[in-house]
Structures are given as C-alpha cells and as structure tokens.
C-alpha cells in the first residue's frame, strides 16, 4: 500500500518534472523569439536612422525634419543637427527644398517678452569638432511661399550648400504639426 502510494507520488513528480521542463523550454523559446524580434527591430531602427542622415566631407547631417502644414499655410520651418567631425569650421550658406523656392536661414531669440527673428544673411557657422542644432525656438530653415503640403510621415527633398564642403542632398521628414512644441 505504501509502495503503491510512493509510486503514485513518483508518477506525479515525473509528470510535474516533465511539465516544468516543457514550460521551461517553451518559455525559453518565447524569450528567444522576443530577443530575436528586439534585435531585428533595433537593427531596422539603426538602419532607418542611418538612412535618414547624409554626409559630405567631415560633415554629417542628422534628422532633417519639418512640421505638417495645412493647405492654407504659407510658411514652414526646417530643423536638423549638423555635426562637423573635421578640424576646420565650415558655413552653411544656402538651402533648397522642393516645397519652396524661397528658402532662408533664420534665427529666433526671446529678448525679454519680445520674440525677435532675423535672417542669417552670412550663413550659419559650423565650428570644428562641434554640432550645431537647428531646432525650435532657435536657428532654423525658413520656407516661404510653400507650394506643397506633405503629410506627417512623408518626406521631401532638399539640398544644403556649405562654403567649403559643397552641396549635399537631404530628405526632410514630415512630423506632426505640434512636434517639438513642448
């Protein structure tokens, strides 16, 4: 009686052991799948962000972007990071874009409670070994008389011309109308 009870316990523990093993294997497999998916996703992300940068000489242009506009809007602003990995300063002197024939380099600053905007007629200097950010409430590209209103998620083509490095192609990613307004 006692031996049969024991054997039943054994049987039960064997079942339990198998169940645990199976679960363990399954869980491991799930983890593996999850890890693989994560790796693929991050690889895709890296590939995509690398795709969304361009370079010329020692200069790297990262994440050029603009905001979605309404059909009635007349102006838009463009932003990006410009990284200079070289030992010499360069100057961004002009920008073109498919959405506008009148593109300018502007700066904005708050002077007390006054908002002041002005054109950077001599261009924007990119010092040696430095990153210059064109960003909301600061330096930006100004697109006047926009003739095209790409939607969020679209891209539009443009070029940047530097005094020394020359001209490089960029794609401006179109982000939501309130992007960067926090």
């Amino acid at each position: 009686m006692s031996s049969s009870a024991l054997s039943r316990q054994d049987v039960a523990s064997t079942h339990l052991y198998r169940a645990v093993w199976r679960w363990h294997f399954y869980a491991n497999f799930k983890e593996f799948t999850f890890a693989a998916a994560l790796t693929l996703a991050s690889l895709y992300g890296v590939a995509k962000s690398q795709a969304h940068q361009s370079s010329i000489g020692d200069l790297v242009i990262e994440h050029a972007w603009s905001r979605e506009t309404k059909a009635t809007d007349d102006v838009a602003a463009g932003f990006m990071n410009i990284v200079n990995n070289g030992p010499e300063a360069d100057t961004l002197i002009s920008v073109t874009a498919t959405i506008s024939d009148k593109v300018q380099l502007h700066n904005m600053r708050m002077n007390g409670d006054r908002m002041e905007m002005f054109e950077m007629a001599d261009g924007i200097e990119i010092p040696a070994d430095a990153t210059v950010q064109l960003k909301p409430k600061s330096l930006h590209v100004m697109f006047f008389k926009i003739k095209d209103h790409p939607k969020q998620g679209d891209e539009f083509h443009g070029t940047l011309t530097f005094k020394k490095a020359g001209t490089v192609d960029v794609e401006f990613m179109v982000e939501p109308p309130d992007a960067g307004m926090e």
Binding site: T72, V75, Q104, M108, M110, R114, M115, E119, K137, M142
Partner: protein, 195 residues
C-alpha cells in the same frame, strides 16, 4: 550767523520736503496710469465674420495675444498650448475668448485668420486691425511690433509674445508669458472667474 544758519537749515528742509512730495506724487501718478492704461476699447474685423466690438465682451473675461500667421514658432506654439489649456479647463471657461490680433494686417486678412485658426480651440478668435488701427491697439496694450525685411522681398515680424488677461469688466488682470507652464496658465484663467 546763527539765524542765517537756522534759516538755511529751514530752507533746505522745506526744499527737501517739496522734492519728496513731488516725487511721491509722480510715483503714485505713474502707478495709477500704468494700471489703467493696459487695454482699451476696440472694434476690429473678426475671423468669425463682421467686427468684434470690445463692449460686447463686458461680463466675459478674455485674453489678448499679438502675432501673425507667417510666424514659425512663437505664435503656433502659444496657440497649441492655449488650445490644450482651454480643453483641460473645459466648460469652466465656457465664455472665455482668446483674441489673436495680427501685427501683419497686410497678409493676415480676417478670412486668412479663420483658416489659420481652424485647427485650434474655437474660443480663439482672430482680429485684423486696419493699418491705421494697428498702432492704436498696440499702444493700448503696450505691445511692440516691428517689420523685419528678409531676402526675396519677404519679411517677418518681431513682436511681444505675452498674453494679456482681462477680467469681466475689461480691466487688465495678469499676463501669461511665453514658455509658462500649463498649470500656471490654467490657474491664471481660472482666477479670472473666481476673483
């Protein structure tokens, strides 16, 4: 000698008193005028059609913000933030109005303001002064604006980026600065109803 000295002291004291009184009067006078002078009656073309007469606002608190539609940053940011703030306040500020007065009437006609404001809270109303009315309304609110020429014959505008809050009686109450937190914006608008 002594009487001369006494007279001189009395004279000096009297002179000091006169100067002090005059200074105090000047100070109290400027304080008074500074309070009274922000805002003032107006009648301007509205994005909601016709003209908005400030007398129709009596009994309703309102805010005034000067800007222009070709503004890439301060104006849309302020309008987005005020839209969020007004949405959160909801019906507690049902009759509140934010008046967006253009400093660029040449380009911003009332129908253009209507299109421009269509994505924002319906309590935001655009106003276009005539070129003659603009300096008057700007002076009434102590607002600075300036046209800045840019290449290709384009231009932009520098302007004060503060929102002026007016109470039910049309008197200046407080301001909301550019970059002020949402909590602070909400509190200041709520104060127009509770005080």
């Amino acid at each position: 000698m002594r009487t001369k000295l006494k007279l001189a002291i009395i004279g000096m004291t009297a002179l000091c008193a006169v100067i002090l009184i005059a200074a105090a009067q000047m100070l109290s006078h400027t304080a008074q005028t500074a309070y009274v002078e922000i805002g003032g009656p107006f009648k301007l073309a509205s994005s909601k059609g016709g003209e908005l007469d400030s007398t129709s606002l009596i009994g309703k608190p309102y805010g005034v913000f000067f800007g222009f539609t070709h503004c890439p940053e301060v104006c849309p940011t302020t309008l987005y933030e005020m839209t969020k703030t007004l949405k959160d306040i909801g019906d507690n500020a049902k009759d509140f109005r934010l008046l967006f007065i253009t400093v660029d009437p040449e380009r911003d006609t009332a129908p253009i303001l209507k299109d421009y404001l269509s994505n924002f809270d319906p309590r935001i109303e655009g106003l276009t002064p005539t070129p003659g009315q603009l300096p008057q309304i700007a002076k009434a609110f102590h607002v600075y604006y300036e046209r800045v020429n840019a290449s290709y014959g384009e231009y932009t505008m520098n302007h004060t980026a503060t929102i002026y809050l007016m109470d039910r009686d049309g008197h200046f109450k407080s301001t909301i600065a550019y970059d002020e937190s949402k909590e602070s914006r909400m509190q200041k608008i709520k104060n127009l109803y509770t005080e």
